[in-house]
Symmetry: D2
Subunit: 355 residues, 4 copies
Amino acid sequence: MEFRSDNTAGVADEIMAAIAAANSGTAAGYGDDEISRRLEPAYSELFETDVRVFPVLTGTIANALSASVLSPPYGAIFAEAESHIYQDECGAPELFTGGAKLIPLHGEGGKIPPEELRRRVRASGQGFVHAAQAAAFSVTQTSEAGAVYSAGEIAELSAIAKQAGLGVHMDGARFANAVAALNVGNETVSAADLTWRAGVDVLSFGATKNGALGAEAIILFRTELGDEMAFRHKRAGQLASKMRYISAQLAAYIEDGLWLRLAAHANRMCALLAESLGAFENVRLDAFGGANELFVELPGAAIVALREEGFQFYDWPETVGAEAGRRGTIRLVTRFDTKESEVDGLIAAVKRLAG
Amino acid sequence: MEFRSDNTAGVADEIMAAIAAANSGTAAGYGDDEISRRLEPAYSELFETDVRVFPVLTGTIANALSASVLSPPYGAIFAEAESHIYQDECGAPELFTGGAKLIPLHGEGGKIPPEELRRRVRASGQGFVHAAQAAAFSVTQTSEAGAVYSAGEIAELSAIAKQAGLGVHMDGARFANAVAALNVGNETVSAADLTWRAGVDVLSFGATKNGALGAEAIILFRTELGDEMAFRHKRAGQLASKMRYISAQLAAYIEDGLWLRLAAHANRMCALLAESLGAFENVRLDAFGGANELFVELPGAAIVALREEGFQFYDWPETVGAEAGRRGTIRLVTRFDTKESEVDGLIAAVKRLAG
Amino acid sequence: MEFRSDNTAGVADEIMAAIAAANSGTAAGYGDDEISRRLEPAYSELFETDVRVFPVLTGTIANALSASVLSPPYGAIFAEAESHIYQDECGAPELFTGGAKLIPLHGEGGKIPPEELRRRVRASGQGFVHAAQAAAFSVTQTSEAGAVYSAGEIAELSAIAKQAGLGVHMDGARFANAVAALNVGNETVSAADLTWRAGVDVLSFGATKNGALGAEAIILFRTELGDEMAFRHKRAGQLASKMRYISAQLAAYIEDGLWLRLAAHANRMCALLAESLGAFENVRLDAFGGANELFVELPGAAIVALREEGFQFYDWPETVGAEAGRRGTIRLVTRFDTKESEVDGLIAAVKRLAG
Amino acid sequence: MEFRSDNTAGVADEIMAAIAAANSGTAAGYGDDEISRRLEPAYSELFETDVRVFPVLTGTIANALSASVLSPPYGAIFAEAESHIYQDECGAPELFTGGAKLIPLHGEGGKIPPEELRRRVRASGQGFVHAAQAAAFSVTQTSEAGAVYSAGEIAELSAIAKQAGLGVHMDGARFANAVAALNVGNETVSAADLTWRAGVDVLSFGATKNGALGAEAIILFRTELGDEMAFRHKRAGQLASKMRYISAQLAAYIEDGLWLRLAAHANRMCALLAESLGAFENVRLDAFGGANELFVELPGAAIVALREEGFQFYDWPETVGAEAGRRGTIRLVTRFDTKESEVDGLIAAVKRLAG
């Protein structure tokens, strides 16, 4: 039973159907086809403002290209020390920006405290010729630790960044899970509220983890960045010749709210886990953010036993392996296609081993 | 009727089926799945030698990453002036190599004359600290002009390059068409004969133009380059989290000779065009290379009329638009899914307009 | 006797004196000293317009940093195939621009024909996403072949570049020699006439070859580029901590017309060579441009003999060594400190050997 | 009276004399002159092993080029968070390495604790394709905070780095001050002991702050890196055409122990300050490292008054300005040409204001 990551998921039926539907006749290459041309109107409607859309293959390149239009080569980009853009891209942001410097911010409870951002930008030496020049701020939604920023929290961080002249990027590899998490009960917060209305300039809009085959979109709320991005996107090797098949995924993903339905399911599965596991005696949960990740501390012996029974998940941090003799933390991730039986199975096993 | 490019084609049925088959259950991300793990054995068998395989999204990135492991940042890479790697990647090779210099070679009949390569490398200033250092040679098979190099021609160019200490890259965006073209009648020449046995170190192995959805493979015949490539590949944003769906395409593509069957059809359609069009009075053909591209000179009025009748193709070079008053050249490209009726339609129209 | 290059020269007395004068007491580092602060006013006066001035160590970095503020990483820069910026910087422009593409133009008589520039820019694919985007044009004054462009010729080339939206850079490693050459007899043409009035945006203003110890200046006529340049200049490792000693050279160099006096002497020495050598039977001169370089074809045996007698000079091109059996071409360069006796000695020797 | 930095110093007489002596006759350009050719033998003798020497203009480029031969573009370089290479080069290391990632280490008492290095390298994800790959470690001697590492401390850090496969760089902008500080009394420790014998692969050997006009040397103890460095050095715009004048400085600097005599004087002046200032009631010193920097905490009113009396120095950190109402810290730096009267004057003033 699979709780390693949402990127182990399959492709949603609706998206497979859209790919199949796109496979009819010939079409102009390099994004000049009908399906690709409809992306910008569709996403502009979703975000309630004019946007430019650049389909790409991975979150790595979405983040790195986003950074490249917000920072000069001598720029500094502030991001949480645990975030993908800071530590999991093997230097991609440095490559595509031409050598910008990523500055690690220290998070609390999985989020960046406004004061941390304010303090670090202030100390960064803006205008001082010896220092990399503060150029951009990147926030991850949902955060690496599974936390969900409210629209107000995003807006507060953005305001600090903007006051200092920085561009704002959001890594939304799990943006759908965040939006779904914030729209439970009577709450209503839109994709627009959580991005440009809260000061975000560029969004890495993830689809792959949430049901696509391999498609992310760079969303430019500052549409004037689009001309430059077009050349950077091509030069990065992301202008697919048969773009229609990537665009078809991104189109289907937001049609009729599919993206939020898929994410809401994943979140619900995670909520079930959180509710049950938290009640067991020998189990301690990190605060559950409402999205699809849960960090669970339990006895090392239980972790080892769960693995032996075939449950799959990662130790956290990954570099610290679980041992029978001491408590450990594991990360559980649910997917759009996680079955309730998987969740029930895990709950039963933990109850037996650490209840 | 569509003769613009082979990238306007759809996806071959066998490849769509492979993608669908891959969509079952969960799988480890980032290439650690079963399908991806089988790629290297399968391609090693195809090429009759151990190879490292890196799946990527586009030919642009295949070429640029290939260049990056063959040239230092202060290196020089020799390539035909008309080739994609020289002029159609918006600076991708320069980006991924860290600033290597592309040196344009002048082709004849669509191929690089050995003497041109020898002369330019000799004049390039190897060891002279002021000059970018000759590091690699890139040859395109089939060439930008649709010509097909024989194994002997590749070997001759490679030998010149190697004697000067250069690495050899082959841009094989249409490698399948070249192999198919060289294996007509009683001729037998293998993928190995045309690559590593002829001195090629790294191959951009194209699949997208010939039936895949979006998949190319970087094939390293010098397997020791693989460790470096792994990091460059990730950093370029090409390590897809759901790699299985790209690997499935590349696996199906070479299974049971599919790649050669698809290419052979495209070549055959082009041969039909070449045979018929060449016979018309007002039509002049460039030498037909046997693959799937044909360059046809005909009266401007005929070109205009063909377009009005719905035939789609590009002027050549693209920047020189056809005019009724003077003869022009058009490029015709056939695809794995070109229908014989399309070919017949075009022949009939040309006959009527310029026969 | 020394005719290899003007970079074999010593340092002019006036410049040594200025360095010594600067060596008094302490001074703020990184260009915040009195001498450095006076550079911009002084150069603004020389060029009759407000300029920004960035002192650097070498012509290589002057050219590369100039390119970096005129071209984006995905840009194309047009320059003569023989020019330093194209072929003698070991990839520096590619490094500092972040991977721009240098496009070689073919010169005639040592200069770029306007039509060549027009044609190549037009064919470069502006707006076409697959092509590196035409961004800048670089002209070398005096040219690599020792030719001197008139103000009108510069203006004509610049106009073509500007009409296409390109920035214009001048590599003025030997700008002083060009200005001096154009101000002989009754002619009067100013530094302004030959640069910004003729459309030049950025100038690499050379001093090292013409009497400085090690100092070049990047002159920005588009002063709005200065803020960006300040960071690029620092990042390139060119913001010297004891900048006063570099600035002192650049200040003394243009004081009381020193730069033109020094250059005029070098030019005069070269003119003497041209007048005398051209008269000898077995000697053929390339057109003498009026500056300080002369290309002389003479019997190989004479070249060998000159070397044996201790004359120092380079074969041209350097990669083609002179041989006794066939005629060869040598480059002769005169310096601000070339003695008339050196010139006389060479003339006498050539007369004896090839007269 | 001047205590801002040692880069406010003038040029030592011996070095001015060497420059003047070099200014005789012509000499081959680009380092092919007699003076430049003697550098490697001289420095090999100084360091008691074969070294390659590359003269450069600034410490910024010495550090950045050093990094570029120790780290691939996808590498990670560990350095103290306060060090120049981490925070004062405006992104130069990122530029010249092609985008390597600088990882900040936290110092204690101005030095990097071995455990901090060990822990951070271990957590860096070596072999994990998503992480920038640990490639190099850079240590600053004397450190940014004026501390001096013993040979044993360097060796311990290097051993940790080497065990993990990292190259070791030393930023020796003030290496002379460190060596002089470690050779007081009966102590004897050589330049070799503090570098290659302690595991250092590449040294940025500073001269500018300690009496040169503008010259630093990159010293390669791993001589096999020299061929690559030659091209990177040229490409960085550091191959000066009149190299003899830079080489003359570097030659004179180490002749007859000049570098250590100059540094010893600066250190002595600082020791005088430390001895006297530490005795005053309202003054608190950071531990004095024995080199030429001293950090002094005193009442804000005293800081303001000192400035009014004409004493020059920086607040520390620079971004926190001194105020009359609260205590502040200032940095005092002595130079090879600091006069004892300057020191006496400062001591008297502090005594009066805060004694």
